[in-house]
C-alpha cells in the first residue's frame, strides 16, 4: 500500500500509519490467501487492465464484510504496470436491503394469493344465492327485480374473472422457469384454433409466419400468446374484415416478434398504461376484460429478460412487439 484515504480507513479500520507498506493480501480471508486469490486478482488486472470481483474481506478487528472490489492496473509511459489502484465497496447494507426486499415481495405474493383465494368463497355464496333466488322466485319478481338480480350475477362473474386473473398473475411470478426452444408459430396456431372454436360466429383472417423460434418456458409461451392474440382477437371484434398477424421483424438489430391487429387500437398517449394491472383503455361494456392480460404478458417477458411495447392509433389497430434474449445456437 502506498496511499490510503479516509474512506478506506473508515471501512477497514486501519490508520494510514499502520497500513502503508503492507501488501493488500492482508484484507483477504486466510483461505483466500492460501489459495492465491490476491495474486490472481492482481495478475488478472495486469493482463486485462482491470479486474472486478465480489467476495468476503477482513477489517482490522478481524470481522468480515462482503465487498465489491475493482482493481485497475496503473501503467507507465511504455505500458509497464507500475502499481494498482483498488476501490472497495462494502456490500453489507445493499445485500441486507436486497434480502429484506425479496422477503417483503415474497410475503406480499403469499398475502395477495391468500386474499384472492379466500375471496372466492364469499363470492360463490353471493353469486349462488342470487342465482337460486332467480331460479326459485324469478317468476314472482317483476322485470325490474329480475334485472337487478341479473346485475348481481353479472358483477359476481366479473369479480370471479378478476380473482382468477390475479391468481394466474401471482402463479407466473412464483413458477420456476424451464427455458427451452419453443415454436411460437405452432403455439400461436393452437391459440387461434381455440379462440375460433369458442367464437365460431367470428370471421377473422389470421396470418402466422411459420418457424418463429424463441427460447422461453413453454407454459409461459402459451400464456404469453394467449394474452397477446386473445387481446388482438377481442379488440378486433367490432372491425369488419378483422385481421391478426403474428410475425417477426427487426428493431435496431434485435429480433422482434409482433402480434398485430386492425381492431379498436388505442391512443399512444396512454401507451404507458397498457401494461399496468387493472388499467384499461376501454370500458368493460365495450370490451369485457380484467385489465390484467397485458400485465401478465409483460411479466412473462420480464422474467425471461425480454421486453414488450406497443404501437397503435384509435380505430387503426394495435401492434405489440416483444423481444426475448437468444440462447446460443443456430436458428
Amino acid at each position: 500500500m502506498v496511499t490510503w484515504n479516509r474512506g478506506a480507513e473508515a471501512l477497514k479500520g486501519y490508520g494510514s500509519d499502520e497500513i502503508l507498506g503492507q501488501h493488500c493480501s492482508i484484507f483477504y480471508l486466510p483461505e483466500d490467501r492460501a489459495n492465491g486469490t490476491p495474486e490472481r486478482e492482481l495478475s488478472d488486472a495486469t493482463r486485462d487492465g482491470r479486474s472486478e470481483c465480489v467476495g468476503w474481506r477482513l477489517r482490522r478487528d478481524g470481522t468480515r464484510f462482503l465487498a465489491n472490489v475493482v482493481i485497475c492496473a496503473i501503467k507507465d509511459g511504455p505500458g509497464h504496470v507500475v502499481g494498482f489502484a483498488k476501490i472497495t465497496h462494502d456490500l453489507t447494507a445493499r445485500r441486507a436491503a436486497e434480502k429484506a426486499l425479496s422477503d417483503a415481495n415474497r410475503e406480499l405474493e403469499a398475502f395477495s394469493y391468500a386474499v384472492a383465494h379466500d375471496l372466492r368463497a364469499p363470492l360463490r355464496g353471493m353469486n349462488g344465492f342470487a342465482q337460486v333466488l332467480l331460479d326459485t322466485y324469478g317468476e314472482k319478481l317483476d322485470a325490474q327485480g329480475n334485472d337487478w338480480l341479473q346485475e348481481i350475477l353479472l358483477n359476481a362473474k366479473k369479480m370471479g374473472a378478476l380473482i382468477d386473473a390475479l391468481l394466474a398473475l401471482g402463479r407466473l411470478t412464483r413458477a420456476e422457469l424451464h427455458v427451452e426452444r419453443v415454436d411460437l408459430s405452432a403455439v400461436a396456431g393452437a391459440v387461434v384454433a381455440r379462440l375460433a372454436a369458442a367464437e365460431p360466429e367470428r370471421s377473422v383472417e389470421v396470418a402466422i409466419q411459420p418457424g418463429l423460434l424463441a427460447d422461453l418456458d413453454p407454459h409461459l409461451a402459451q400464456a404469453l400468446l394467449e394474452n397477446l392474440i386473445g387481446n388482438a382477437w377481442k379488440f378486433s371484434a367490432r372491425t369488419a374484415a378483422a385481421r391478426i398477424e403474428v410475425g417477426v421483424t427487426e428493431t435496431s438489430g434485435v429480433r422482434t416478434f409482433f402480434v398485430r391487429d386492425n381492431g379498436a387500437g388505442f391512443d399512444m398517449a396512454f401507451a404507458g398504461k397498457l401494461f399496468t394491472p387493472f388499467q384499461r383503455l376501454h370500458t368493460v361494456d365495450e370490451f369485457f376484460g380484467t385489465g390484467i392480460g397485458l400485465a401478465t404478458a409483460q411479466r412473462i417477458l420480464h422474467r425471461h429478460g425480454g421486453r414488450i411495447w406497443a404501437q397503435g392509433a384509435v380505430g387503426a389497430g394495435a401492434t405489440f412487439f416483444f423481444t426475448l434474449p437468444e440462447i446460443a445456437g443456430d436458428r
Partner: protein, 149 residues
C-alpha cells in the same frame, strides 16, 4: 337403503349451495355434514364425539374440502388412505383451489377425483350433478367397499 354422502365443509354457504345443487339434479341421498377434518375422522372411525354411537355405515362418497379448520383436507386424506377400513372409500376433493401443488398432493395421497368449485352457481350445479351421477350411479366400487353395510 341408500348410503349417505359425507360432506366435509366448514363454510355454511357452500354447504347450502352443495345441497341445493344435489337436490336440483335429483340426488336423494342423505347428506351428513361435518365441519372440519377432525370431525370427519371421528365420524368415519367412530371416535371423539362419535365414540360409543352406533357405528355408522361408511358413506357412499366423501366430498372433502381442503382448507379446513383443525385437521386439513390433505391430512384427512392421508389418514383415511392409511387405514384398512377407509383405504378404498371414494373420496372427491371439492375445493376453491386449483393450485398445482394442491392437485398433486391430493392425487399422491390417493384421492379419487378433484373438482374445483366454480364461483358461478350454474356451473357449480353442473359440477355437483356430474360428481353425484358418476360416483353414486355409474361407478362400480371394489367389493370390499360395496359389500360393507
Amino acid at each position: 337403503m341408500t348410503k349417505v354422502i359425507l360432506l366435509v365443509e366448514d363454510n355454511k354457504s357452500d354447504e347450502k349451495l352443495t345441497l341445493l345443487a344435489f337436490r336440483s339434479c335429483g340426488i336423494a341421498n342423505d347428506v351428513k355434514v361435518v365441519r372440519d377434518g377432525a370431525e370427519a375422522l371421528d365420524y368415519l372411525f367412530g371416535t371423539g364425539v362419535y365414540a360409543g354411537a352406533e357405528p355408522s355405515a361408511l358413506p357412499a362418497l366423501v366430498l372433502l374440502d381442503l382448507n379446513l379448520p383443525r385437521v386439513s383436507g390433505h391430512e384427512v386424506l392421508r389418514r383415511l388412505r392409511s387405514d384398512a377400513r377407509t383405504k378404498l372409500l371414494p373420496i372427491v376433493v371439492l375445493t376453491s383451489s386449483n393450485e398445482d401443488e394442491d392437485l398433486a398432493r391430493s392425487y399422491e395421497l390417493g384421492v379419487n377425483a378433484y373438482v374445483r368449485k366454480p364461483v358461478d352457481f350454474t356451473e357449480f350445479a353442473v359440477a355437483a350433478r356430474a360428481v353425484g351421477l358418476f360416483w353414486l350411479l355409474l361407478n362400480e366400487l371394489p367389493p370390499a367397499i360395496r359389500d360393507t353395510p
